[in-house]
């Protein structure tokens, strides 16, 4: 195979090949928050909990934890409350996490010790670092057992003033000690900097790297090590969703000696930082970090005993997803991520078998996927012939068109009548903007029109007639076999007239109704989509204006409440309705509180219900409250619930045990490759075609031959002949 992009030595090796398009910005578990980074980081570090790979709805299970954490709810006087207690009475929640003994870290130079047990690579001089270019240049590595203190150390890092953890403010609401710790660290950091400027020495103990803050010297009230393998955290109030956070890298362990190792002078200059070389106990370790070209994960030789799950959801056994039940993981030795900036080479390399999996972009959608007349999705014949499989799933996300409720036109004025008219206007627009059509035209059907903020699969989201948005849809057919059908434009016009804008004109002044969409280039402002929206508004007689601005200005408008209608999205952090319904919670208002409620929606009843619902355990009582909250939103229509995006992913037939699920990100350890099948397919699909080389040579010869003949004729021409041809020949000179 002449076009094989990988080294010949890797042929037949147990390696998974995939690609990445955006370089990861952070791999420090305290900072990393994006999907691009999660692809790498979740394979390397291990929080105490993880999502079950196969079960749906998503279920948490222990990862490094020795069983699910114990939760104790206490009232203001310290008395323990039952799990069903009213969340308002819960003053504190105590969570105790016990870690499985015997878990080892990946081999790393930070753990290497001398014969006397001292760290081998601490206090390194400039001379000792001179030849060091990467971690592989440290001759010795070591490991040690994972202990509870490593988790506590990482939780303290959330408050580190130089690390800018994105969840610090959120966590500080539940862990007030974090603010105190940050103040203390900030003061220490400033004092350290001042001493360094004055040249009066460093703040830390002798031998500590300059500028390094030893977090073990700072207390974090509410977080403590109970014993070698147990740690405890005390949260303010009731926050059951905290367990979901315990499945994210923010709460994965960071050993103090690793932090200290990377803090040494000369390390950062060599790009040797924890932000680029995360250290963990996970199934893989990062062995090559070149975000411009490729990132490589290799099997962690010290990985704990971990076996493939034996339970899943219905259909998993038939899909072969339980065939490896009980087998030791990980199955794959190495994962190679190659950087592909452009979609065309990425797609072609997937078709050649050089990438094991690929997404489906708009460019290759028609080649990969066929839509039936009923709207069903299937693979194209070409893809099926190659044994490629299509995996689809609904993402736990919502894209919406938000109305700025502070805008007098769409949010309503101070009087009840004005608010009511604005509500009718929002309802009319919600009906008129046909999201089924939008998804079909602009997303190739890769989205589910939204009925509420809750995507399917999240507790509280109802299916069928019970989940229908009655303002926008009506049910057609029986309860079992029927389907929601969008109300027609006549209904939208009726609502518009009730709002005081019959046929899109002010009932009193006759002024036309103008709706402004604030957007960013590449967003809804793009021509075709704007034209589509304009047409829908035109059907109502409403004028539609697109106000495109760059992303930063757009964010400013949202923050200052200067937008009218805007397009936004939210990707849930965890599969709980609280993480979606809070986007419309009054105290989250963007303008007043700089929260996540970009529509600045406020409804006292909704807010009160949210406060009750957020800490309740899943069950009929919670469902009832959610139903009421959703009904309020559907009536008030602060958002047009546009769609929940669907994820389409392709994989070759030789990739086994792959299951989609946006919440499960530590997926590499579960996957397996049928190597023989991959090698055979690659060989068959990439047979070199050599005859074109001969053809090119012939063509070149055909081009050169007349030139050579011509040249020889001229060079051997006599003066008389040359004179006759002089008007066209070189001897005539200067013919142009």
């Amino acid at each position: 195979m002449l076009n094989d992009p990988y080294p010949a030595g890797e042929r037949g090796a147990n390696v998974l090949y995939t690609a990445f398009t955006e370089r990861p910005k952070h791999l420090d578990p305290v900072q990393s928050y994006s999907e691009d980074e999660a692809t790498f980081l979740y394979q390397i570090v291990e929080p105490p909990l993880q999502y079950h790979y196969l079960k749906r709805p998503y279920a948490l299970e222990p990862a490094t934890a020795d069983g699910m954490p114990k939760l104790r709810r206490l009232d203001a006087s310290g008395r323990e409350l039952p799990a069903t207690a009213d969340p308002a009475k819960v003053a504190q929640t105590v969570i105790e996490v016990r870690i499985r003994p015997g878990i080892l870290y990946q081999p790393h130079p930070a753990f290497a010790t001398t014969s006397t047990g001292e760290p081998r690579y601490q206090g390194l001089s400039a001379a000792e670092l001179r030849e060091v270019r990467g971690l592989a240049d440290f001759a010795e590595t070591g490991t040690r057992e994972l202990v509870a203190a490593d988790y506590v150390y990482q939780i303290k890092r959330l408050a580190h003033p130089r690390l800018h953890s994105p969840i610090f403010e959120l966590m500080a609401e539940y862990m007030p000690g974090l603010k105190q710790l940050q103040a203390a660290l900030d003061a220490a950091s400033r004092a350290q900097a001042a001493r360094a400027t004055e040249g009066t020495g460093e703040a830390g103990a002798a031998g500590d790297p300059p500028g390094w803050l030893d977090l073990d010297r700072f207390a974090l009230p509410g977080v403590e090590v109970v014993d070698r393998h147990t740690w405890r955290i005390t949260l303010k109030g009731a926050y059951p969703q905290f367990l979901y956070w315990l499945s994210m890298p923010f709460f994965s362990p960071v050993p103090r000696e690793v932090d200290r190792f990377f803090a040494q002078p000369g390390m950062a200059e060599r790009n040797l930082t924890l932000d680029w070389w995360p250290v963990g106990t996970g199934p893989y370790m990062l062995v090559e970090n070149n975000p411009n070209a490729r990132m490589v994960l290799a099997r962690n030789p010290n990985y704990r005993s971990d076996t493939y799950p034996c339970e899943g959801e219905a259909g998993d056994a038939e899909a072969g997803l339980l065939a490896d039940c009980g087998k030791a993981m990980p199955f794959i030795d190495k994962v190679v991520f190659s950087r592909e900036r452009e979609g065309i080479p990425y797609w072609n390399k997937f078709l050649q078998g050089y990438y094991d999996a690929s997404g489906v972009s708009s460019d290759n959608f028609d080649q990969a996927v066929t839509l039936t007349s009923q709207g069903e999705v299937s693979l194209s014949e070409d893809m099926e012939a190659k044994g490629i499989r299509l995996l689809t799933s609904v993402s736990p996300s919502i894209f919406y068109l938000g109305f700025n409720m502070l805008d007098p036109l769409v949010g309503g004025g101070p009087s009840t009548a004005e608010k009511e008219r604005a509500r009718k206007l929002r309802q009319a627009i919600s009906v008129a903007l046909d999201m089924e059509e939008f998804v079909s035209i602009f997303l190739n059907g890769r989205g589910l029109p939204g009925m509420s903020p809750l995507p399917p699969g999240i507790f509280g989201a109802r299916e069928g007639r019970a989940g229908m948005n009655t303002v926008v849809y009506e049910w057609q057919g029986s309860d079992e076999d029927g389907r929601p059908v969008r109300r027609g434009v006549d209904e939208a016009r009726r609502l518009l007239a009730e709002a005081g804008w019959p046929n899109g004109r002010n009932a009193q002044t006759g002024e036309p109704l103008v709706i402004n969409l604030d957007t960013t280039p590449g967003g809804l402002g793009d021509k075709a989509r704007s034209d589509w929206l304009a047409k829908k508004f035109r059907d109502l007689g409403v004028q539609f204006v697109v106000r495109p601005t760059d992303f930063n200005r757009f964010q400013d408008k949202i923050r200052q409440g200067n937008a009218q209608l805007f397009f936004f999205g939210w990707n849930a952090d965890y599969p709980d309705p609280e993480n979606l319904l809070f986007l419309l919670h009054g105290p989250q208002g963007k303008v007043k509180f700089n929260g996540q409620n970009a529509a600045n929606y406020e409804n006292p009843e909704y807010d009160a219900l949210f406060e009750r619902m957020k800490a309740m355990p899943d069950g009929p009582a919670r469902q009832l409250i959610i139903d009421r909250m959703v009904a309020i939103l559907q009536q008030d229509a602060p958002w047009i619930f546009a769609f929940h995006p669907m994820s389409y992913s392709l994989q070759h037939g030789w990739v086994l045990n792959r299951k989609t699920g946006a919440m499960v990100r530590n997926t590499m350890k579960y996957q397996r490759i049928d190597l023989a099948r991959r090698e055979a397919a690659r060989a068959e699909w990439n047979r070199p075609v050599l005859w074109p080389l001969g053809l090119v040579a012939l063509l070149l010869a055909a081009l050169v031959a007349p030139a050579v003949v011509h040249w020889r004729r001229r060079e051997t021409a006599t003066a008389a002949v040359g004179g006759a041809a002089g008007t066209a020949g070189p001897q005539a000179g200067g013919g142009r």
């Binding site: 200059e269 592909e340 700089n594 001897q731 000179g733 200067g734």
Partner: protein
């Protein structure tokens, strides 16, 4: 000549300050330090406190050009512009927003960029000049006519077409070389073959036409007639005399780009996944990483100035009549 060179180097300093100032102004017209912080921390849960802390840590909490609260020279030195610009002249580029050392990054990426740019440059020059000379040799014949037509056709086609078509034909259909990727050392050759070939082919049309025009200008001069009268073959006249005398306009366009070869090619590097410098600036603009944008613009300016000085020097080498005074 030394005085001339010294003068040019001194001229370069205000030019570089001007370029730096312009980059600074243009960047901060569309990005505020708050935007940079938000981009760095992430939009999802960025709070005003976190943004403020980020700015203080990176020195973006200071005024842009004039610090009204400071006294004396600190009014101008205790500013973002001074703080971020001065060290550039000592080639200290600092760190990118993602924490990576910019100097190290540039050193790492320079090799792959040169690996593709250098052979492309040399081969393009050889092929285009030879082709142009042949067209001149066959001027006013059907070979010249169709050659020019071919050049016009080739220069009319977008380079994107050459890249996508080349990848599809050579890598996908014929499976002769990898579609994209890069490997260090000698193994790089199989990854570079196609991008270099495509870059050379894509550039022939416009360069050959330009060189042909230059050569046709030369060929009507008296020394050419004299050379022919001496009985030299036409090939000897073209390659030995015309080429040498046409070097001044060729060098004007060619030498200036030699230092810029370090900067790489955005399109080719992007499509062929070559980890060079070409895409570094674009990545930085997308990430609103001012440190990298500023460093890359500064280096580009320095290299361009070096290219212009080298061009001047090259004139003296090919034409003894030229004196740099």
């Amino acid at each position: 000549m030394l005085a001339y060179l010294l003068r040019r180097v001194l001229y370069a300093i205000p030019i570089l300050i001007g370029v730096n100032l312009l980059t600074f102004v243009l960047f901060f017209v569309v990005n505020s330090p708050d935007d940079m912080a938000r981009m760095h921390i992430g939009v999802k849960r960025a709070t005003p406190e976190a943004i403020e802390r980020w700015k203080v840590e990176r020195g973006y909490d200071k005024p842009m050009f004039v610090n009204a609260e400071a006294a004396g020279s600190a009014r101008f030195t205790d500013t973002i512009f001074f703080d971020k610009s001065l060290r550039m002249f000592a080639l200290e580029f600092g760190r990118a927003d993602d924490g990576r050392d910019i100097g190290q990054e540039i050193r790492d990426r320079m090799g792959p960029s040169l690996a593709i740019a250098l052979p492309t440059f040399v081969l393009s020059l050889i092929v285009s000049i030879s082709f142009a000379l042949l067209l001149v040799f066959f001027r006013a014949t059907y070979l010249d006519f169709w050659g020019v037509v071919l050049c016009v056709a080739m220069m009319s086609i977008s380079s994107l077409f050459y890249i996508i078509g080349g990848q599809w034909l050579v890598s996908k259909l014929w499976a002769l070389v990898p579609i994209s990727g890069y490997a260090p050392g000698l193994d790089a050759a199989r990854f570079l073959l196609l991008p270099v070939l495509i870059s050379v082919v894509a550039g022939i049309g416009s360069s050959a036409r330009w060189y042909r025009t230059i050569f046709l200008e030369e060929i009507s001069k008296d020394y050419v007639r004299t050379a022919r009268a001496k009985g030299l073959s036409e090939l000897a006249v073209l390659f030995r005399h015309v080429l040498r005398n046409a070097l001044i306009p060729i060098l004007t366009g060619v030498v200036v780009v030699i230092p810029l070869l370090f900067m790489g090619s955005l399109l080719v590097e992007s499509f062929f996944a070559i980890p060079g410098l070409g895409s570094y600036t674009i990545d930085a603009i997308n990430a609103q990483d001012f440190a990298v944008v500023r460093a890359m613009v500064f280096i580009g300016s320095v290299l361009y100035i070096i290219g212009l000085i080298l061009t001047d020097i090259s004139y003296t080498l090919v034409d003894p009549r030229v004196r740099l005074e």
